[in-house]
């Protein structure tokens, strides 16, 4: 597999380690009244879609950036990759 790194161009998937669902960017509010059940979902429950999936990859053998890669899990087609930091900042900015 090749991953289109936003700043380094296409890179071989061997250079990366895989984490999974990009929902891990959305760490729940630890002070919310339902924090425990929200964390339970966050830690243990993942969607496993057949189709388009946004997932986290770490460029461990490269520039050590975390990427959000959009991939079709059926065809392995990679539809895009963004810096996870940019995605996380945008979400915080929009209050999402």
């Amino acid at each position: 597999m090749l991953i289109p790194h936003p700043s380094l161009g296409p890179r071989d998937a061997e250079e990366f380690t895989y984490l999974g669902d990009s929902r891990l960017l959305d760490r729940p509010d630890p002070n919310a009244p339902d924090a425990e059940s929200a964390f339970c979902d966050y830690v243990f429950l993942r969607d496993n879609p057949a189709g388009v999936h946004r997932e986290l990859w770490f460029h461990e053998q490269g520039d050590r950036s975390w990427l959000v890669v959009t991939r079709d899990t059926v065809t392995h087609q990679v539809l895009g990759a963004e810096m996870a930091r940019d995605v996380a900042l945008a979400r915080k900015g929009s209050g999402a």
């Binding site: 090749l2 960017l25 964390f39 243990f44 461990e60 050590r64 950036s65 975390w66 996380a88 915080k92």
Partner: protein
């Protein structure tokens, strides 16, 4: 001798080789199979199950029968196809799966017992008694139904791995592949042309047809010369593309020196990972046989193979041959062999309208119903017009039609589609994106059509990636059509082989049908059709056709046959690609490694690190003597240990403190500059993850340490937290594990020793107390970092210097500390010291323990959020009452074994009454007996109690007393001296 005239062999040189110990001769350009045929040998192997005598069936990599063992000694190599072995001088080859000899094989008795060995035989017969499969049946069957044997010695040859990139990969250098490569290379595209043969040309090498009126081999030579003169193409012979992977990545094996007696300075094979924007699949087609009674007699081969042996290798299996074909192509074999002076006894064609294409006896509307000659064909039985006759011949070419090589196309769920006119599966929908079939692989069977298809496919492929290519002038070539009538097998009572290598006959397929194993997937597994090393290249379509007929359905309704990688067998050695022995994974050496080696240290692997385990001295005969001495030296004087492998992460930025607050369960932002704090990290699920120290070197500057095992993982998680969870914080991270050599100096005399190297730095307890840190210089100006931390419970320091000075620092400390008794100690003594002190390590932080269990529950701050804090408070974790305790045997000579489970004194031993386990154990020179650490139910309230440690693996149990986890200096006074 059955050597003919002509051929693409170099008769000016003679090569000598042996087969089953007997010497033969051949020429450069020969394969082992062609040379054996030229020497008059038809018998080359024995079948897998029935041990039937077998000859060569094919002339290429699809060969199911002629599997041989090559070479001897450590290079002995089983299951090699004689059809792909390039002859070299001194080649040693042996037949397989026979005893005592190829001509007389005792296990051929299996053939007489064939009525018992039908499909499903194993499933039905070896079911009972239950334990017999593993102990008796399987070993016996494996011995009887084997292929070749392994040398059982390490492979002496080198292998390597390489990476290539191109615009267009052309797979196959036959007519279509060459036309594709020519089209692409002239456009300026970067091209790779691969071919499994040792000579380009594909099927053209085996035919007599002309290109532009000249011999095809002349056109190929001229083209080869042009390609080799151009910088933008890499022509790779002896290279098989075996699999297609995601995003245009292709796996290929180049047999660099398989054709040499010994590789010499070269590698044996190379595993290539080729990244191609587009690829043309010009893999050609494979002929399939027609099944009839005893169609596996040595001498019966595919008609195309027989023609290839005659035209390319000037070899005929016999002086008298026959041909059995249901299509026009088979007639060419009769024509070409007759032209070479071989007697063609008859051509049998089931099509009543069949026409002869040369002067030979044609039996149109006939079928072959039998064959004689156990060790070599002597006659065939032909039925035509209601009459039956035996015709004498020593070999017969059989053609049931050609199957396009769709294998690579079907690697990504590509489904081939049935073509009635060609009676074959062609590439259909799906398949790997960017892979375009051409030539015979796409069903273009005539040479002219294949050339055009190759050129046009290459042009379209390049167009897709924005490269404009023009079609080259292609040579004038054969346009002859190909007509075929479906004949897959000849009905009869005797066995007719479909899958030669796995001995699957028409009868077996009928049995599978009768027993309702009708879907192709069931058929395959029930009969083992297509499951041999040739993956049924010559068998699958025929098997499917037989099942379709029995099921009274069409072939496409019955199913299809798809393939998985690898296209042909790939040796594990080349997949390993040289990652063997010391190259298996990176080895990380500590800065004092060579110094320790000089001291005679014994090393141990800790992840990728090679660390000194202990330093034996003269007279010490057991590792325990060395370890006990080293541990005592630390408690009494001063010991030195390289602790570089512990992870070091530099954390800087305005929000560094806040960032660490969120990562560690305890407070880090409040740490004073020049101080160190122990830190515990949790996982987000609330369990303890890793521990280390956190030193604050400046307002915006911390250095944290991790355990050796988790150094990479903790860094990865910290980057995740920085980039994904809290990107708004101003903080930067870098791993400095390799940048700093770090040496622990531990023991009551460590201050005295360090005093001798620091440059005017006050080490007094008042100025530099326990848990202090500083940047300073040592040894007259060398920059260093000093941390007053202790893993052993003694007064101790860790000193870090730039990695390249680690060796010199160790030497200097040993030299200056000689009078203080400075002693190097390894990981073993390090472990003893930390167990004596009750420090948790990897055995305690195993992912199943909470902060409370290791006695650090109060460290999880309730005042702030941190990773894992919320989940650590959930019921299941908070209610876990197991606590870390020390354990000591009542009998000082008694054993403490880690992994033992703990029970109350009189409790029965069961999972319900299990109260914990022992995590770490060692002999403690300080205590004078073995000691252990373990987690025990309510352990903190049971000090003094005697419990049972059960070790059912060894059938042992021991009485242990529960004691505090600190065996040394429980108050911590020594740390603070």
């Amino acid at each position: 001798m059955t050597r003919l005239s002509g051929g693409l062999i170099d008769r000016s040189r003679t090569l000598s080789f042996t087969f089953d110990g007997k010497r033969y001769h051949g020429h450069p350009g020969d394969t082992l199979a062609s040379a054996l045929l030229a020497n008059g040998l038809r018998l080359m192997g024995r079948s897998f199950k029935y041990h039937r005598p077998r000859g060569v069936l094919c002339a290429g990599s699809e060969e199911p029968n002629a599997l041989v063992e090559l070479r001897s000694g450590a290079r002995q190599e089983p299951n090699t196809r004689a059809t792909t072995v390039e002859l070299f001088d001194g080649l040693e080859a042996r037949s397989q799966n026979r005893w005592p000899s190829l001509g007389f094989d005792a296990l051929a008795v299996n053939d007489l017992l064939a009525p018992f060995f039908t499909a499903g035989f194993y499933y039905k017969t070896f079911m009972w008694p239950k334990g017999f499969w593993e102990k008796l049946y399987e070993p016996a069957i494996r011995k009887a139904a084997g292929l070749g044997s392994l040398s059982m010695r390490p492979d002496p040859d080198a292998y390597e791995r390489g990476y290539l990139h191109c615009d267009l990969l052309v797979i196959g250098a036959g007519a279509a592949g060459l036309a594709a490569a020519l089209t692409a290379v002239r456009s300026g595209a970067r091209v790779i042309l691969t071919d499994e043969d040792f000579r380009p040309g594909g099927r053209l090498l085996s035919e007599t047809e002309t290109l532009d009126g000249a011999r095809a081999s002349d056109w190929i030579s001229a083209l080869k010369a042009e390609l080799e003169s151009l910088p933008n193409i890499r022509v790779m012979q002896r290279t098989t593309v075996f699999g297609v992977y995601d995003h245009g990545i292709y796996g290929a094996v180049e047999r660099v020196s398989d054709h040499l007696a010994e590789p010499g300075h070269r590698v044996r094979q190379t595993l290539w990972r080729i990244t191609a924007k587009r690829a043309v699949l010009a893999a050609g087609a494979t002929e399939r046989p027609i099944a009839f009674a005893d169609n596996d007699r040595p001498g019966i081969m595919l008609a195309g193979a027989m023609r290839a042996y005659a035209n390319r290798w000037a070899a005929s299996p016999s002086e008298t041959i026959a041909v059995f074909t249901n299509n026009d192509d088979g007639h060419r074999t009769a024509r070409d062999l007759a032209a070479k002076g071989v007697h063609v006894a008859a051509v049998i064609d089931p099509r009543p309208e069949a026409r002869a294409c040369a002067d030979y006896r044609l039996i149109a509307g006939g079928i072959v119903t039998g064959a004689r000659g156990r060790l070599g064909l002597t006659a065939i039985q032909v039925q035509a017009n209601g009459k039956s006759e035996w015709i004498d011949c020593g070999a017969m070419g059989v053609s049931g039609g050609w199957n396009p090589n769709v294998h690579l196309f079907s690697h990504h769920r590509g489904r081939p589609v049935w073509n009635d006119a060609l009676q074959a599966f062609l590439p259909g929908e799906g398949g790997p994106s960017g892979l375009l079939p051409a030539g015979a692989a796409a069903g273009c069977f005539s040479t002219a059509a294949a050339l055009r298809s190759g050129a046009e496919t290459a042009r379209s492929a390049l167009q897709e990636i924005g490269i404009a290519a023009r079609l080259p002038n292609l040579p004038c070539a054969d346009e002859e059509g190909y007509t075929i009538a479906p004949t897959f097998y000849v009905p009869g009572k005797k066995r007719a082989w479909v899958d030669f290598q796995n001995d699957v006959t028409v009868k077996d397929i009928k049995l599978a049908h009768a027993e309702n194993m009708r879907p192709v997937e069931h058929l395959k597994r029930y009969t083992t059709l297509g499951m041999a090393t040739d993956q049924g290249k010559t068998a699958n379509v025929t098997g499917l056709a037989v099942m379709a007929e029995l099921d009274k359905r069409s072939i496409p309704e019955t199913g299809t046959t798809i393939f998985r990688p690898p296209f042909t067998p790939v040796a594990l050695s080349v997949l390993g690609g040289g990652d063997t022995g010391l190259h298996f994974r990176p080895r990380r050496l500590t800065p004092t490694h060579y110094w320790a080696e000089g001291q005679g240290a014994v090393f141990v692997e800790v992840g990728q690190w090679i660390r000194a385990q202990y330093y034996p001295r003269v007279g010490e005969t057991h590792w325990r003597q060395s370890v006990d001495r080293e541990a005592r030296a630390v408690r009494r004087g001063v010991g030195l240990c390289d602790v570089t492998s512990l992870g070091k992460i530099d954390v800087q930025g305005a929000h560094a403190g806040e960032f660490l607050n969120r990562l560690y369960s305890n407070m880090m932002a409040t740490l004073k500059i020049g101080r160190v704090r122990y830190g515990l990290m949790l996982r987000e699920d609330g369990f303890a993850y890793d521990d280390g120290t956190c030193a604050r070197l400046g307002e915006d500057h911390y250095v944290v340490t991790t355990t050796t095992a988790n150094a990479g993982l903790v860094y990865r998680n910290m980057e995740f937290a920085r980039q994904c969870l809290w990107p708004e914080l101003d903080v930067q991270l870098i791993s400095t594990t390799d940048a700093w050599a770090q040496i622990a100096a531990a023991g009551p005399k460590s201050r005295a020793l360090l005093d001798r190297i620091v440059d005017g730095f006050d080490l007094s307890n008042e100025v530099f107390p326990f848990m202090a840190c500083a940047a300073l210089t040592v040894c007259g100006g060398l920059r260093a970092r000093l941390f007053r931390i202790s893993f052993s419970g003694e007064l101790a320091y860790e000193i870090a210097v730039p990695a390249r000075y680690g060796h010199a620092l160790m030497e200097r400390l040993m030299e200056l500390g000689a009078d203080l008794g400075a002693t190097p100690y390894g990981t073993e003594a390090l472990g003893v010291l930390r167990i004596e002190k009750g420090h948790a390590a990897g055995a305690e932080l195993n992912g199943q323990t909470t902060a409370a269990m290791i006695g650090l529950g109060s460290m999880v701050s309730q005042k702030k959020d941190s990773v894992g804090a919320v989940m650590s408070r959930r019921d299941g974790l908070a209610s876990d009452k197991r606590r870390l305790v020390g354990l000591q045997p009542l009998d000082p000579a008694g054993k403490v074994v880690s992994g033992s489970h703990l029970f109350a004194l009189d409790a029965p031993r069961s999972l319900d009454t299990d109260q914990g386990w022992i995590t770490s154990a060692c002999y403690s020179p300080h205590v004078g007996s073995m000691i252990g650490l373990g987690f025990l139910e309510n352990g903190d309230e049971r000090l003094g109690e005697v419990i049972v440690a059960a070790n059912p693996l060894e059938g042992e149990s021991a009485h242990l007393r529960v004691v505090p986890a600190h065996f040394v200096d429980p108050g911590g006074a020594r740390l603070r001296e």
